[in-house]
């Protein structure tokens, strides 16, 4: 777990810069993706780039403008949009549980050396939590009331430490970018799939270069799948990393392990989450059976690593740390 602080510090700076780099790559890919979808729609549907077609590649320019707009929006207002979609509210400090939550977040912010993030509460019985924001100065942490009811102080502390770890490693930038950009891709691919199949019917006899048609068709048909897999692969490693970083903060792996166990046993689907936001959460809010299994297929299909494996790793850390008495 916690190596020398020197090593940790380098580690986390490295993680931050890797996340920033990956975010840039993803935005770039997103733009390229929109550009090529725009080009293929122009080519297949509007017959641009062929003699006799329109001179101006309308769909391409439109797609580029839209994708730039979406990227900027998701960078600056992405977390606000997601928070509003989830129905998050500010905590009511008159309630003892909310006061306790605020105190715990303050503690973890101190332990990590991050500035205090904004706190939000979702009134929902499903125990879950998430963190968002483009950097540590614009971060928010969101917790369901179900989680506050279910867990003890020490266990909540573990969960909050996990979320703060996402913020400090700057996973939140990447994650909120992905969730807004994915929404854009899903929308576009639905739309282009329909238009391509319509055009294939009407212009069956016309000559088009097969070399161009095949990749553009491929792109239009498989893009949603590819983007999903990308989001999943990106998210799972980060969950393990955030668990490890959380233990660096609390020096108490058992709190987090017990929290995971309790949440697994009490799990229920969280209805306000969607496929676009699932990877943001502490445990998978969509609650599919594959999350509890291990193996190739489960690895490929799930946004979260199997809970059993996370718990096992945490207990291992507790063993290695010599079973220090928990704080709080």
């Amino acid at each position: 777990m916690a190596g020398s602080p020197e090593h940790e510090a380098l580690d986390f700076a490295e993680r931050q810069s890797r996340n920033r780099r990956l975010s840039a790559v993803i935005v770039f890919l997103f733009l390229i993706f929109f550009l090529s979808v725009g080009l293929s729609v122009d080519y297949l549907k509007l017959d641009a780039f062929t003699p006799g077609g329109p001179q101006f590649p309308l769909a391409t320019v439109l797609a580029l403008a839209v994708s730039t707009g979406i990227s900027l929006t998701s960078y600056y207002w992405g977390s606000d949009l997601i928070l509003r979609a989830l129905g998050a509210e500010a905590p009511n400090l008159e309630l003892p549980e909310h006061r306790e939550l605020r105190n715990i977040v303050t503690e973890m912010a101190l332990a990590s050396g991050c500035p205090m993030p904004k706190i939000h509460v979702i009134f929902d019985p499903a125990p879950n939590a998430l963190a968002m924001g483009r950097d540590e100065y614009h971060a928010s942490i969101c917790v369901t009331t179900g989680l506050l009811l279910l867990l003890t102080r020490e266990q909540t502390q573990g969960v909050i430490a996990h979320e703060i770890a996402h913020i400090r490693n700057q996973d939140t930038l990447l994650m909120s970018l992905i969730s807004v950009l994915l929404g854009g891709i899903a929308l576009l691919s639905d739309w282009s799939q329909r238009s391509v199949s319509a055009s294939a019917y009407r212009r069956h006899g016309q000559r088009k270069n097969a070399l161009w048609v095949v990749p553009s068709l491929f792109l239009v048909l498989f893009s949603p799948l590819i983007s999903r897999l990308l989001a999943m692969a990106v998210s799972r490693q980060r969950e393990y990393l955030a668990d490890a970083t959380a233990v660096e903060f609390t020096r108490n792996p058992l709190g987090l392990a017990q929290a995971l166990e309790k949440i697994r046993n009490a799990a229920m689907p969280f209805h306000k989450a969607s496929r676009g936001t699932a990877h943001l959460f502490f445990v998978n809010p969509l609650r599919r059976r594959v999350d509890d299994r291990e193996g190739r297929l489960a690895d490929l299909l799930s946004t979260h690593p199997p809970i059993a494996h996370r718990i096992m790793l945490l207990y291992q850390m507790a063993g290695l740390a010599g079973g220090r008495s928990p704080k709080a």
């Binding site: 602080p5 006061r99 306790e100 105190n103 303050t106 101190l110 903060f249």
Partner: protein, 185 residues
Amino acid sequence: MRWVILAILILAAVWVIWTYNLLVSLRHRIQNGWKQIDVQLKRRHDLIPNLVEAVRGYMKYEQETLEKVMQARSRAVSSTGVKETAQAENLLTQSLGRIFALMENYPDLKANENVLKLQEELTTTENQISFARQYYNDLVMRYNMQQEVFPSSLVAKFFNFGPSEFFSVPEAERATPRVNLSLQA
């Protein structure tokens, strides 16, 4: 050949500047970390009399323990310097822990909303102190190590950086607390 030497000199200068700035920024972060601890310690000093007043009526047979906490508090308030403060505050932490443990014996206390609120406030302050201390000590360790590791030690010596002091945890706090032995008699 001249260019090679020039390039090496420039690289060396850049490295010296970088190391110097790293050390300075670490020193500032350590000072800031110490302030964070200080804020929490002050908060604890303010909260303790409130808690003692709130519990005094219930805990009739533990007046001595309560007195001890107040004494430890006044000693902690008047202490100065990292080492002395650390010692006094650790004593205070121990006596507070004793009160929390004794409070378990009084079910009436758990029904009192004011006491519960104070208890949560003190718990979070205790935690904040220990997390701030953890962060502070990590920084101090990095700072001191940076001064001793070979190439950067040259820069540290040249510019007269000195090692910082740890906010240490005494052995007494690490050992299992023997709360019940002395107090149930």
